[in-house]
Symmetry: D2
Subunit: 463 residues, 4 copies
C-alpha cells in the first residue's frame, strides 16, 4: 500500500466469505464510488463458485463510468492466498447452512421459545456461536501467520463472540466488529427532529450520541443535535407514538418486511429504563426476558415487529442468486449506489486519509466501567491517522448494567465451552439465557436436540 | 471497656431489636457461658415490653450457677440511650409485622411465584428490603451520632442490603453481617467424612473452606480436611445421595421441620456448577430461576424441602412468647446451652482476646474479583487483635459469577430505589429477579399489590 | 444561549482572571475572528482596573471591520456576577504576585536547585499549588452555586492540581484543562516531515498522535502522517540533530527567547525512553531528576534552553501594560490575528457546532491504565455535540509509568496537604520531588523559608 | 505424603541451595524439633560437596535424643532429582560468588553511593536481580515439569523479583516468599510494651499487626495488643528514644554486629510518615533517597547502623565452613534450638495440620489497593487446611504509596530487562533508583562497570 497525493494505492483486501451476497456487494459498490482508494480484493469462500461469481461482478465494475476507485477482484482457494500481504481483512461468513440456521431459529419454537433473529443470543445465538468459534479460531491463527498487521473488520454474528475469539487466540490482532444497527437509531432521532421540532433534512451524522453496551443491545445515554439534549424530545416522541409505533418515511411497513419494525420495543425500553436502546426491535427483544416481547407470535405482533423465518432467508438467497446470475449474464446492471455502510469510510480513516468517530465493537480497555477487561463491547471509537481507539463511554445505571452484564458473562461462558468443547458448560450458559424460561427438563431436551442438529460443525466434542 | 488479666470488663453492648426471641436469647446464653467477657447490654425495641421481658430474663441469669460471664441487661426507650457509649451494636429486627411478612411470602403465590423464605431475594425479599432500608438509614445516622467507633453486627435479613445501607449512609462505620448458613454446610461436610471415609467425630471447625458470594447464596470453591481436597469425596457423596437426599444424624426430618432440608438442591447445584453451595436449600432455591426448584409446591416437595408459611412463623412466635412468660414466671428455666452461633467468639476476637477466621458479610474491598467495590459480599475474614479484615477469596467461574452478579446489581438497584423512593426503579429490580418469570402485566399487578400492602412502611413514597 | 442557523447567539462567558494580559487577549482576538459565536464576556479580576481595561479593549473590537463575532465585555466586581448565567467559565489567574513567584523560582537556587519554569512541579510548583488550591476551592464552590452546568476551561498552572481541585470540591463540575505544549510538538513533527522527508506545508493538524501523561510531562506513543508511523523518521531526526538541537524555521533562537528551546531534552528523552515527550524542554526538564538537565546553569545551557527568571516576567508584564495603555489611548491597534490556541474551537464544539479531537486535561475515568481513578491526566478527548469524552490512550511502559506516577501521587499529596493545611504532609511531597536531591536538613530549611514567603496566601495554616 | 493421626509422614522437600549454611541449618533444626512432620529432604546445590556435607549433618540428627521429627537427607546432582515428587520446594541460593557481591556492594562506593546491604534495591540489588532472574526462570520451568503442585517457599533476595519471576514463567505455581524482618519489628513492639507500659514477657505473637508494602520496605498501619491501638504508645516510644535509638535487651550492640541497628531510621520514618516501617534499618535506608540515611559512612553512623561489607560475609562463610567441618568431624555438636523462623510452621499449616497468619510475599490479587495486579507484595496471609490466601491489607496514604510504587515499577522494569536481556532498559531502572542521585555520566560509567563485573552470569546479553 502506498499513499500518494492523498490517495491510497495498491491496497490489499482479503475478503473471507467472499462469495457473500449482501455485505460483499455493498462493499464493492462503496469501493467503486470512493475515489481515494484502489487495489486488489481477494475473495475466499468455502463456496468457491460464489467467490468466482463475485470476482466476475467486481471486475466488471472497472468498466462502469461511475466507478472512481479502481479495484481488481480475485477468487482464491485458500486462506493463505487471501491473507498473505493483506492490509485489510474483511470477514462476513455464514457458519453452516440454512439447515443449521433453521435448527437455531425454529427448533426452540417447539418448546415455546420464539426468537426474532436467532443469531446473537438465545438458544439460536448460542448454537450459532458454538459452530462459529472454531472457524474464528482458525481465522485468528491464519491471520497471525499470514497478515498479523492487517486491520480485521468483522461483520459476522454473533458479533461479540466472533471478535472476542479473534483476540483470545491472537491477542495482538487489530480486529474490530462493525454493525449498522446504531445508525438506524440515529436515523430515527433525525426523523424525530423533523416530526417533533420541524427540523427537516438532517442525517444521522447530525445526531451526536454516546453509545455503550454490547452489539445488538447497545444503548444511547446522551444524544444531542447542535448541543441540545435530545432526551426530553425523545420522551415526547415516545409518548406520541408509544401505542401506534413509528416508522421512517419511505420505509417498508413492518408487516411487509421482516427487517423493519415500528420501534415499539425501543419505546417501551425507554419508558422502562430511561435510555435509548440503539438496535432494531427484533434484536433488542431477544436480550430481554422471554415473556416481555417474545412470549408468542401474538405478542410479537402486538409489539409490531416480525420473527424472521428461515424460509425468508432462503428465499432472499435464491433471489440474490438469481440476481447475481442475471448480472453476470449481462441481463441486469449491478447498481452502484452508496450502501449506507461505513466499511469504506473506516478503511479510508485507517489508511490515514480521513477521521471518523463511529460505533465499534472492541475488547474493553477502559471505555466502559463495570465490564471485565477484554469483553467485547460496542462504544464509539476514533479512527484517525491509521489508529483506532475507543472513546470513554462511561457506565450504565445498575438496572441496565444488570441486563447487559448477564449477556457478557454468558458470552464468556459460551466462549469457554466452545474452546474446551464442554457440553455441560454450554448448557449452563443455555439455561441462563433470558429467553430460556422453560422447565429444566424441557430445556435439557431442547439443548440436546439443537446440539445434535449441528454436531457436524462441532468436531472433537464428545457427545 | 477495659482489658484486665485477659478478660474484658465493662463492655457495653447495644442490642437493637432487643425484644427479639431467637437471636437475643442465644446471645444471652452464649454471653453467660463465656468467662472472659462482662458488662452491660442495653435492649432497644419498638416493642418495649418485649425488651423489658428480655431484661428480666437476662438479669436472672446472674443468679445461675453455670453463669461465668457477668452481664446486666437494661431495656431502654431510645436509640440514643442504647447506643451512647456502646462498644458493640447488635441488630436483629423484624421490619414490620407478620402481616407484611404474609404479603411478602404469600401474595406472590397467587401469581404462581413460590418462595421458600421470602426475606432475601424474590418479590418478598425486595419488599422486605424496601421497608427495612429506611430503618437502617436511621440506625446508621444514630450510630454515627452516638457510637461511631462501635463494632456493629447485623443479623437482620436481607443481610446484604442491611449492611450495604449502613455503609452507604455512614461510610466510616465498622459494621459487618453474620449468618450461620455456611456453618451448616461445614457440618454437612463433616458428616460426609463420617459417611464416606469413616472419619467420625469431626466438627465444622475441622473443615477448612474458602467461601465466596453473597449471603444465602454463598459458595465453597475449596474445602479441605487436614490438607486433603474434599471435592472428590463430595462428588461421590452427591452421587450416593442425589436421589434420596441426605440429612444430618439427629436432625429433624425435612418433612417435619420447615428449617430442614435433604440437601438435594445443594447436590443438584454441585452437579450443575461444580462448586459447593453453602446455605440451606430453602435459601439457595430462591436465587435460581423460578422453574428450577420453586416451580410449584410439588416441585418443592420433590427437591425435599419446604416452603416456610407465615402461619408457622406466627405459631413459632406464640410458642416463644409462652415460653418467655413461663421463664419470667419461674415455671421454666432458661436453658444455658451454647447456641452454635459465633457472635460471642467474634466479640472476644474484636476486643483483642482471641483470633478467629469465619465467614463475614462486608463491602468488597479486594476480597473478590469481578464484584463492584462496596457491594456487600460474604467471604472469610480474619478477626484478630481488635481488627477485622477480609481474606482474599478470588473469583467465580463465569457461570456462577453470572448467577451471583445478577443479584448484586439487583440489590444495588433496590438500594437506590429505596433511598430515592422511586417506584419505577424498584419495579425494574422486581422484574429482573429470577423468580419473576411471569407475564409483565401480571408482574406489574403483583408488584403494585405488594407495594400497597406495605405502604405504611414507605413514608414519603409518592404512590 | 441559542443556536440559530448554525450560529450560537447570546453566549455568556465568565472570565476569571479577566484582567489577564496573555490569555485574555488571545481569546478576544479569536472570538472576534469566529463568525459563528456571539454574546457577552464578564471579566472578573482581583485587579478590577485591569479587568476594566480589558473591557475597554474588548468592546472596542466591535468597531473593527475584521470582527465577525459580536461580543460585549463587562468588568464585574464579584464572582457571583461573573458566574451567574454563564455557559462557559474560563480561568487564567496568577496566584499571588511576582514577589511570590520570585520566591518559587529563585529561592531554591540558593540551595542548588534550578527550575526552568517553577510553576508546575519542583519546589516552586509545590508552593504555587499551595496558594492556588484555596482559590480554586472558592471557584468550585461559587461555580456550584451560580453556574453548575457551565463548561469550565482552566488555563492556570499548576494545571493538573487546579483541575483536580475543582473536581474534588464539586464532583459534578464540567471542567477541563487546556495547554498548548502538545501543539508545539506536533509543529515539530510537521517540521521534521519537511526536514527529513521533504514534505512541506504541513500543519500540526496533519499529524495524528496519541497523547498520554500529565500536563507538561505528556508523551506521544503513536504518531502518524497519512497513516505512516512517524517513529522511525523521528529516530533519524533525533540522530541528526541530537548534538546541535533543532528549532522551527522563523522561531526566535533559544538564546534570545526564554520560551524557546532547541529540543535537545526532548531528543535525549527519546533516546532514553523511546517515546516522544510532548512539551517544551523547559517544562520536561523539571519532571526529571535534578542532575539530568537542571544540575546548574551550565548544564542548562548545554541542553540549549533557558531558565525563566522572574525579572523577565516582570518586564513582560510592564511591556504588556504599556501596550494596553497605548491601545486604550488609541496610539496602537489591538492586533486581530489568530492566536493558535484552541479555546474558541473548543467552545464551538461544546455548543454543538463542530467536532474536535484534541489534548485535554481530565480526571482519569478509563482513558489511562495504571493511573488512579480521578487523577487529572492529559490525553486526547473528543468534543462533539456538546459532549466531552476522553479517548482511551492506553498505558505507559513501566519505566515512563514510573517517572509519571511519582508526580501523580505527589500531586495527590500536595492536594491533601493544601486542603488539610498540613505542613508536614506538604514537606513529604517536597522531599519526594525529583528536583529535591539535596541534604534533608537543607531541604527542610528551604521548605520553611519558601512557605514563610507565601504565608499570607495560606490563611488558616498553623505555622 | 500421608496424614495419619495428626502427623504428616513421608513428606518430600526439595531444597534448592541445599549446601546453604544459614537457612538450611535453621530448617534442619526446626524440622528435627517438630514432632508432627517427617520425611525426606533432597539437597541440590551447584556446590555438590556442600550439599553432601549438609546431608551428613542432617542425617546425623536422627541419632540425637532431642529429635522428634524423623528426616532423611540426600544430596542430589540435578534439579530433576530434587524436584520429582516434592511436596515442598525451598529455595535459598546465592546467585554468583562473593566476587560479584563485592561488585554489587562496593563498586558504587567509588561513585559516592553507599548501600547497607546491596541485595534488594539500589545498584547492587539491581545487578543481583539481573543475575538471579535467569536462575529462577530455570527453577520455574523445572518446577512446572517435575513438581507443578508443590508449595514453593523462597528465601533468596531480591525476594520480590525472585517470587515475581517464578509466577511470570509458571503462572500456576504455588510459590510465596518468606522473610523474618517483620518479626523483628513485632519483637520491638513487644519490647516497647515492656519499656513504656511495663507489660513484660510478651512475644511477637501477642502483637497483632496489619502489614503492607514490599519486602524489606514493609509497613505496619495498624498494631494492637489485646485490642489496644499501639500507635499512641509507639509515638511516645519514638520520642523517648529518637536521639539515642533503642535496642532489644540481650541483643548485640549495633556497633558490634552489622545485622543490628538502633532503630533510628525506623523512628525517623515514623516521625515523617506516621506509619511503622517493618524491617531492619539497614534494609529500610536503601529504599529512601540517597542523602537521607546513606549519604556517606558518617551519616550511616549517625543513624546508628552499619554498612555490611563483603569481607564480613566472607568471614562469616569461613566461620560457617569451619563449624561445618567440626560438626562433621564430631568435634562440635550441631545445636538443636528453634530458629525463630516460620518455615516449619508454614509447612505444618500447608499440609493441613495447623492454622497460621503471618506476613507473606505473594502476587497482588486484591490484598492491596493501588498496586498493579501481579506485583509481588508483602501482607499478612492465612495458611490453613492446605490453603494459602492473602488477607486484605488496604492501601497506603499517597505519600508512602509514592515511596513504594517507585520500587514496584522499577522491579517490573528490571524483570523485563532481565527477560529481554535489554541493557538500556536495565539502565533506565538503574537511574530511577532513589540511591542513584549522581550525575548521569557517572551513573552510566558505574552501570557499565557493574554490568561488566557480572557478565558471565548474563549469557545472551549483547554487550
Amino acid at each position: 500500500m502506498k499513499i500518494r497525493e492523498n490517495k491510497a494505492h495498491k491496497l490489499n483486501i482479503a475478503y473471507l466469505g467472499g462469495g457473500s451476497r449482501g455485505w460483499a456487494w455493498r462493499l464493492m459498490a462503496d469501493l467503486a464510488l470512493e475515489e481515494s482508494l484502489s487495489g486488489m480484493v481477494r475473495l475466499y469462500d468455502l463456496d468457491f463458485a460464489a467467490a468466482q461469481e463475485n470476482e466476475a461482478i467486481g471486475n466488471s465494475l472497472l468498466q462502469r463510468p461511475e466507478t472512481k476507485g479502481k479495484w481488481r477482484y480475485q477468487a482464491v482457494t485458500s486462506l493463505k492466498e487471501a491473507l498473505s500481504g493483506a492490509d485489510f481483512v474483511i470477514i462476513s461468513i455464514l457458519p453452516g447452512t440454512f439447515q443449521e440456521m433453521a435448527s437455531d431459529v425454529h427448533t426452540p419454537e417447539e418448546y415455546g421459545i420464539y426468537q426474532s433473529v436467532g443469531d446473537t443470543v438465545g438458544p439460536g445465538g448460542l448454537m450459532r456461536a458454538l459452530r462459529t468459534i472454531p472457524i474464528y479460531v482458525d481465522f485468528a491463527e491464519k491471520i497471525r501467520a499470514y497478515s498479523p498487521k492487517a486491520w480485521v473488520i468483522n461483520y459476522t454474528n454473533p458479533m461479540s463472540l466472533c471478535t472476542r475469539t479473534l483476540y483470545e487466540v491472537f491477542p495482538g490482532i487489530k480486529a474490530f466488529g462493525c454493525c449498522h444497527e446504531v445508525f438506524h437509531t440515529q436515523d430515527l432521532l433525525a426523523a424525530m427532529l423533523a416530526d417533533i421540532a420541524g427540523i427537516k433534512g438532517l442525517t444521522r451524522n447530525d445526531i451526536k450520541i454516546n453509545v455503550l453496551g454490547i452489539n445488538h443491545f447497545t444503548w444511547i445515554n446522551q444524544a444531542t443535535y447542535q448541543g441540545t439534549d435530545l432526551f426530553p424530545m425523545y420522551r415526547a416522541f415516545v409518548d406520541k407514538y408509544y401505542t401506534e409505533g413509528f416508522q421512517l418515511a419511505g420505509e417498508a411497513n413492518w408487516q411487509d418486511d421482516v427487517f423493519r419494525c415500528a420501534n415499539r420495543v425501543k419505546f417501551d425500553l425507554f419508558k422502562k429504563y430511561g435510555l435509548i436502546a440503539a438496535a432494531g426491535d427484533r434484536h433488542l427483544a431477544e436480550f430481554m426476558p422471554a415473556k416481555m416481547y417474545l412470549k408468542d407470535p401474538a405478542t410479537v405482533e402486538q409489539w409490531r415487529f416480525q420473527l424472521t423465518p428461515v424460509r425468508f432467508r432462503i428465499k432472499q438467497k435464491e433471489d440474490n442468486d438469481r440476481f447475481r446470475s442475471r448480472v453476470i449474464a449481462g441481463e441486469e446492471q449491478f447498481p452502484l449506489t452508496p450502501s449506507g455502510e461505513e466499511g469504506v469510510r473506516q478503511i479510508k480513516a485507517l489508511v490515514g486519509l480521513d477521521d471518523l468517530v463511529t460505533n465499534i465493537n472492541l475488547p474493553n480497555q477502559g471505555q466502559m466501567e463495570g465490564v471485565p477487561a477484554g469483553a467485547v463491547i460496542e462504544t464509539n471509537a476514533l479512527l484517525t491517522g491509521g489508529q483506532l481507539r475507543p472513546v470513554v463511554a462511561g457506565a450504565f445505571p445498575s438496572d441496565v448494567q444488570n441486563l447487559t452484564i448477564r449477556h457478557i458473562y454468558n458470552q464468556e461462558t459460551i466462549l469457554q465451552a466452545a474452546l474446551k468443547k464442554d457440553v455441560n458448560l454450554a448448557f449452563r450458559a443455555f439455561i441462563n439465557d433470558p429467553l430460556v424460561q422453560i422447565d429444566p427438563q424441557q430445556a435439557e431436551a431442547l439443548f440436546t436436540r439443537m446440539l445434535e442438529n449441528i454436531k457436524e460443525y462441532l468436531p472433537g466434542w464428545v457427545n
